[in-house]
Symmetry: C2
Subunit: 153 residues, 2 copies
DNA sequence: TTTAATCCCTAGTTGTTTACTAAGGAATCA
DNA sequence: TGATTCCTTAGTAAACAACTAGGGATTAAA
């Protein structure tokens, strides 16, 4: 039930971009240095985020990435699901998954539990935006640790 | 963010035991057949559940396993955490984990999010007991699928 | 117009984890 | 005594995670 580095790094990167929102494109090299992530790996994470329409890119020298919308309209849920897939404890609770998972026609005592878990996770991550994180960050900057965000595992 | 077969099979097995609560020891062979799990694998799952005090065993012929308490006092959370470890999206939110995860002394914008996810999952699974599952099962027996529980993936 | 910076894409690699299978010992009932 | 059952450990094949590597496309600046 752990998030992988894809989701964790991706969230860090998106928060980094949110801090520089409105200041033009930010290069991956910059983000990678600040957040202590390999540039090559970060490229693989930003790609789906761009395809999902969460960030926009500017190619060439002095290029980089920027949020495609205001931080207040980008949820943590949209970032995490883009990189991790649905935040569901099982595949069977995900609507658009293939039919070969289990017999979906009947009632299942365990499935209702997994659905409740899924709903509660979704509800939390969809209610938090990058703007919330920025507000949180600015309020607590005094006790902030060294990096922008710690290497949360 | 998926549960592994350990948690899913373990929950199925515990629900099976709950259905036979008060009827003496149930052999793993029985459970394995009903729930379509390999006996050898199931043995590896029941072992930690026994060590956690959730089930009791009777050795020898006509032996088996039974819940150590009433189904109403055994939560889904206790079963899943026994088999999967803490249901946390990251290690850093787990209190008793080693100190080498990240600098725990400072404030972290992402950690607070992971803590909220952790709390919401914990809250759901700790509020559901095996008795709830039995009640649910008996209420919906009409639309029940073939097996006791479907092969939820 | 060249160069450097940057995005963009794909393939390969290494280590870990998952999901088992297999096998044999210990206890107990018939 | 033998069948049945719990109990434990070791091994293994496949999938996955977390990268590394390399090269092509695009563009600003020198």
């Amino acid at each position: 039930m752990k998030l992988s580095t894809r989701g964790r790094y991706g969230l860090k990167a998106m928060f980094d971009l949110a801090l520089y929102y409105g200041e033009g494109p930010i290069s991956l090299t910059n983000i990678a240095e600040r957040q202590a992530i390999s540039v090559n790996y970060l490229e693989q994470l930003i790609s789906p985020l761009r395809k999902a329409g969460l960030v926009e890119s500017v190619r060439g020298a002095q290029g980089g990435y920027m949020l495609s919308r205001t931080p207040g309209t980008i949820t943590v849920g949209s970032i995490l699901t883009t990189l991790e897939g649905p935040l569901a404890p099982t595949d069977c609770v995900v609507i658009d998954s293939g039919d070969d998972l289990c017999d979906q026609s009947g009632y299942c005592v365990t499935k209702v539990i997994y659905e409740k878990i899924y709903e509660s996770i979704t509800s939390v991550v969809n209610s938090i935006t990058l703007q919330h994180m920025i507000d949180d960050y600015e309020q607590n900057q005094g006790q902030m640790i060294v990096h922008t965000i710690c290497e949360c595992k």
